[in-house]
Amino acid sequence: MPRYAYQPFPYKKPPELDGAVARQYPVAIAGAGPVGLSMAVDLALRGVPSVVLDDNDVVSLGSRAICWSKRTLEIFDRLGIGERMVAKGITWKVGRLFHRDREVWSFDLLPEEGHKMPAFINLQQYYVEQYLVERCADFPDLIDLRWKNRVNGVRSHHTGARLAVEAPGGAYHLDAAWVIACDGARSPMRSFMGLDFEGRVFEERFLIADVEMRADFPSERWFWFEPPFHPGQSALLHKQPDNIYRIDLQLGPDADPDQEKRHENVIPRIEKIIGHGDFELDWVSVYMFQCRRLERFVHGRVVFAGDSAHIVSPFGARGGNGGIQDVDNLGWKLALIVKGEAPESLIETYDEERVRGADENILNSSRSTSFMTPKSKMEKLFRDSVLDLAADHEFARRLVNSGRLSRPCSLEGLSLQTPGAAEGIAPGQAMPDAPVQCEGRPGWLLEYFGGGFALMAVGCAPPPGLPAGLPVIEIWPDENLAGAEARIVLRDAEGLVADRYGAGVICLVRPDQHIAATFVAPHADEIALAYARAMGREH
């Protein structure tokens, strides 16, 4: 299998440099990483055009993000690349933890059946970006992807923002009603606007290497504390497609990154792990990890998403996954605002909901990084004691922290959600998937949600007099039981929808597949109220 072949994307002279009359675009996106590209696709699916500006013309150099979580895959499925990612990626669900030379414990991430997407796949970030770029090409009238267009400055006003852009043919200004800053961890947009990026930097250095080799390591996450091949430190081995393995090695705070990156120094370290020298180095980098975020993600008409808004250490795979959840949250809100269907204040709920997500990710990633890098002699004693006790005791195994893997963020209790009346699923949760049938064809519940708002009625019919334009999806053990109002009728093929949501429960589902409200035998007015609230029209 050949290594990934980087193909530069073609530069096209932007119309502004070709004498076109300047106009205001609805949305400009700064940065074409996974977050910026997903943003453009999400908006296009909702009919909103965007211009995407990227200073580079290739996908991610090096694999960077490799672990994509189930919720992210569900979002990517909605965007149209989920199945392709799963087909190419390595599906895994088992993780093993070792201390010195013994296995301490192992975990299985998704024992529950009946979900379209697996718990996790590993797929190099460059593939994800490539698939997204190709997906963008499906919307030639809606996505204007501009490579080698660097954003050099921004001036924001109350009806939009003006970007200063530099391209190979010259410099120009671009006006947009909304600017989404997806320009990564070092975000120039953040600096242009003079915004603080608060948080914590871990002094520890980590070597990250992609190694190409033929080997039969299983598709599992292997994590070592103080392995014999790398005394006193931690190590991680994880398989990617194309016979590539990700290896992380903790190096300590005093390691010299330039020295450590040299292949003659990396190769012996890797030989010690895998026991032979029959491999090739694909990518090597040395990182210091940070957990930081902007205080606010919304600054007038400039909105931050992905690494520009928050960064975490990679243990737990919460960086890229968190960024894709930003997109999921922002896309529909921005589309409603741009189309004048929701008040501009709806954007504030992006800040509210995704700050919660970022804090959850920062908390978990900081704890994992701390566990791996004890700061004092006493911290180290505690850490070692947990590992010692883990051999015999369940409670200690649960304290061993090599990364708490990314989970969907619950939006429960935040302003768009109506506090739950029903039993079953809580408002704010992302919808759990389940197998369904539509006119005899098997499919998945989530495939029917994610366009606009919708009402899901599980084994019951909703009341008459529903708000106009709110489609109803009824789910029954037998389709013939469905009421006349249903736009779509699904069969609860294995009874799992009723199990996971509660029989007789009606859910108001947001365009990002999160539950906004739940009801049992509601009056139509209650639904209308929750619907208005979820659109930010009332509080």
């Binding site: 704890r367 015999d392 409670f395």
Partner: protein, 65 residues
């Protein structure tokens, strides 16, 4: 259930991570000696809170192993 299982059974669930973080925080900035004293006080307090000599014997045995 044997004594050993009982002493090792997880009772904190996801709060385990919260407790561990609080514990590390409590030790932050202390000298090794001060940290050891903090641990001693903590053991005494927790032992009283457990309030069951058999459970404490089992904990001592598990810790000494």
């Amino acid at each position: 259930m044997t004594d050993k299982d009982e002493i090792g059974r997880d009772r904190l669930d996801t709060a385990g991570d919260d407790f561990y973080a609080l514990l590390m925080q409590a030790h932050e900035g202390l000298s090794f000696e001060e940290s050891a004293r903090l641990n001693a006080r903590l053991v005494l307090l927790l032992a009283n809170r457990v309030g069951d000599l058999d459970a404490l014997r089992a904990a001592l045995a598990a810790a000494k192993k």
